[in-house]
Symmetry: C2
Subunit: 148 residues, 2 copies
Amino acid sequence: MTKINFSDEYFMQQALNEAKNALHKDEIPVGAVVVCNKQIISRAHNLTETLNDVTAHAEMLAITAAAEFLGGKYLNECTLYVTLEPCTMCAGALSWSQIGRIVFGASDTKRGFSRHTPPVLHPKTNVISGILEKDCSFLITNFFKNKR
Amino acid sequence: MTKINFSDEYFMQQALNEAKNALHKDEIPVGAVVVCNKQIISRAHNLTETLNDVTAHAEMLAITAAAEFLGGKYLNECTLYVTLEPCTMCAGALSWSQIGRIVFGASDTKRGFSRHTPPVLHPKTNVISGILEKDCSFLITNFFKNKR
């Protein structure tokens, strides 16, 4: 039996798989998973076109599903893995959830939360970026290149 | 037959009625309506406790319902009336929706979107504040006073 290494790269790969699910639906390829005690408690990908809803970002759907799984709306013991830096809306939601940790792949200089002052996230949330950055970035850059 | 005056005050009163619906459920009393061509196309109130979901703010639910009604995710022809200044998450969602106009009652100096730089909203969105401010503010201040 192969022992799984539950590293940040492992969980980001799961988020990347979700992003690929979005791509297959011609959605902007962003994927997310929420992890609690090394267990994935929710998986989601962007569904804004399918659901005809600007709020249906991967992170939003993953937060709602994680809270449903836990039976509580606070995610302070959880980590969100997402392929792209969360936008202001998603960061606002993550702030309300008091999530413990956020790991994202590619940065988003135009729409990412980190542009804002004062900071959008909860002060106790730890943030790590750049995990599998190349793969995360390629997926989304290529998507928009093919659209033009 | 009484002629209805479709003023900002009229629609804010409808948002206030939604906030009172939240209050009856012991939810933080915030209400919202989305108006298009003087017609209310969605109504919502805060349901974060009922749904166990930090994303279930009145504005988020109203945006999703309005897009569903219109069959399109952009709300550029619409006005959102909300009793409290939208938080960062809701303003981020409103930005994605490209909503034409936002009218809010009470300001929220702690959580309101207007604290942030660069601005969270879409540059084309017009914002008006202070409509029925006293009523909107009383409802929420009183709610928290009774909780302590």
